[in-house]
């Protein structure tokens, strides 16, 4: 167990170190988030009331698209120099490789989101901090769902044609329920309403989604990496 966790952390640290040295993916992701936020503000001129209603949708569209740029790099970065070979032949289970990468992606995507949120507040003149901790919980849960499926699909698409296009095509439809739930909860929380019995179903669904897709990914990752 300890060995497994150590291996996960080694992989996670390696990915983070490599990314922070080049900052390619994270810069692209942040710029993209900024551009989308700007574009939406040109698209319409919202009063504060309208903004709060659409905040959930807007934020999660920004998160999802900016996140894709980071998730795509996840296994793609291993293609250079055939590093994926070295990782597969190392004596670590595929699940450790997957979790390490998923956690590294999680940190990176969360970083972009936590920068985009205050920017959103500034550009759209919205106070979003009234239900801060509950909002953070929703961001954490939604982002994990996105990261888990994004990482496993990054592994799935690493060697195929049209990799950059296939990842979002596969990932977004699968994510629709999670994004829907996250959007609903986020809109309510940004508007200042705490999570009530009404909204709880979304929260439960998000948690269920996260658990299920994490489990299925862990089971199938070895098949994806070593295959048939």
């Amino acid at each position: 167990m300890m060995a497994f966790l150590r291996q996960v952390l080694v992989i996670m640290a390696k990915d983070l170190r490599a990314e922070l040295r080049t900052k390619e993916a994270i810069n692209a992701s942040l710029s993209f988030a900024l551009v989308v936020l700007l574009l939406f503000s040109f698209a319409f001129d919202p009063s504060e009331e309208t903004t709060r209603e659409i905040s959930g949708g807007l934020l999660w569209i920004v998160f999802a698209f900016a996140g894709t740029l980071i998730l795509n790099r996840s296994f793609a970065r291993e293609l250079n120099n055939d590093c994926l070979d070295a990782l597969i032949s190392a004596p670590i289970p595929g699940s450790a490789l997957f979790l390490g990468k998923a956690l590294a992606n999680y940190v990176l995507v969360l970083a972009v989101e936590l920068i985009a949120l205050p920017l959103f507040g500034v550009f759209y003149n919205v106070r979003w901090t009234s239900q801060f901790w509950q909002l953070m919980m929703v961001v954490a849960l939604g982002t994990w769902g996105m990261t888990v499926t994004g990482t496993i699909f990054s592994a799935l698409t690493v060697n195929i044609r049209l990799r950059e296009v296939m990842l979002p095509i596969l990932n977004f439809p699968i994510l629709i329920p999670a994004l829907l739930g996250a959007m609903q909860l986020t809109s309510a929380l940004v508007a200042g309403k705490p999570i009530t019995a009404d909204n709880e179903a979304w929260l439960k669904m998000l948690i269920g989604f996260d658990i299920m897709y994490t489990a299925v990914s862990l089971v199938l990752v070895e098949t994806v990496l070593v295959g048939g």
């Binding site: 060995a3 080694v10 070979d85 004596p91």
Partner: protein
């Protein structure tokens, strides 16, 4: 005595097309098997199947009796493929320490420094790999494969595109490895360098084993001998 590398009745299919057909061969501990054959004969496919990158459609691969996918078995194996399998954005030392940790070495950093010295890279240990020359990158790749003291080394055309210094380093390390009783399976086009080290030779032809036997003086004298006798025109 358990064979170091055992390939038994292995078939590998791409869809319905058999890239490997009923391959049976083996390498005893301490042997050096040179795998030769034309391009497309299946050398890389066979090596990668032995290394556990993909599973055979039929048949069995055994490394010291166990599957190459077993975690414990993977500790005993070292693989050098066509790529150098080290990270451009990390330094030489960071790369080797990383793999040391992944292989569960007791003192990853110390072993890494040791191997950097053995491959003549200790002076550039903190340099990022992307700044290395080609020969330096290849020596680092060799260090990575040997770092964890594998008992079985699987090398896919290791001498191809190496500069003289790297060839010398690799030959020295391989001789030392053989002297230590390690097993090597190496696919190659560079017949001369490979045959000097080899104890056994296997010729692959269109996915099948056309010849498998000891390396003889004849072969050393005329590297094309096996092809002439057993290969196709």
């Amino acid at each position: 005595m358990t064979e170091a590398v055992g390939v038994e009745g292995v078939w590998k299919f791409y869809g319905d097309y058999p890239a490997l057909r009923n391959i049976t061969l083996s390498a005893a501990p301490g042997a050096c098997l040179a795998l030769i054959g034309r391009n497309g004969a299946g050398k890389t496919t066979l090596l990668r199947t032995i290394a556990g990158f993909s599973r055979p459609g039929k048949g069995k691969i055994a490394i010291f009796g166990n599957s190459p996918r077993d975690t414990q078995t993977r500790r005993l194996m070292g693989f050098i493929g066509h790529g150098i399998s080290v990270y451009d954005e990390l330094s030489a030392l960071e790369n080797l320490t990383l793999f040391g940790k992944l292989y569960g070495l007791a003192e990853p950093k110390k072993t890494a420094l040791d191997w950097l010295e053995r491959t003549g890279l200790d002076r550039v240990k903190d340099g990022l790999v992307r700044e290395f020359s080609r020969g330096m990158r290849q020596r680092l790749a060799v260090a990575r494969a040997f770092l964890h003291g594998p008992k079985v080394l699987l090398l896919d055309e290791p001498f191809t595109a190496l500069d003289d210094r790297a060839i010398a380093v690799l030959q020295r390390l391989l001789r030392e490895a053989l002297a230590e009783g390690k097993t090597i399976v190496m696919s190659t086009h560079q017949l001369r360098e490979a045959l000097e080290l080899a104890t056994h030779v296997a010729l692959l032809n269109r996915g099948q084993v056309a010849f498998h036997g000891e390396r003889t003086a004849d072969m050393l004298a005329d590297p094309g001998w096996v092809y002439a006798r057993y290969g196709e025109a």
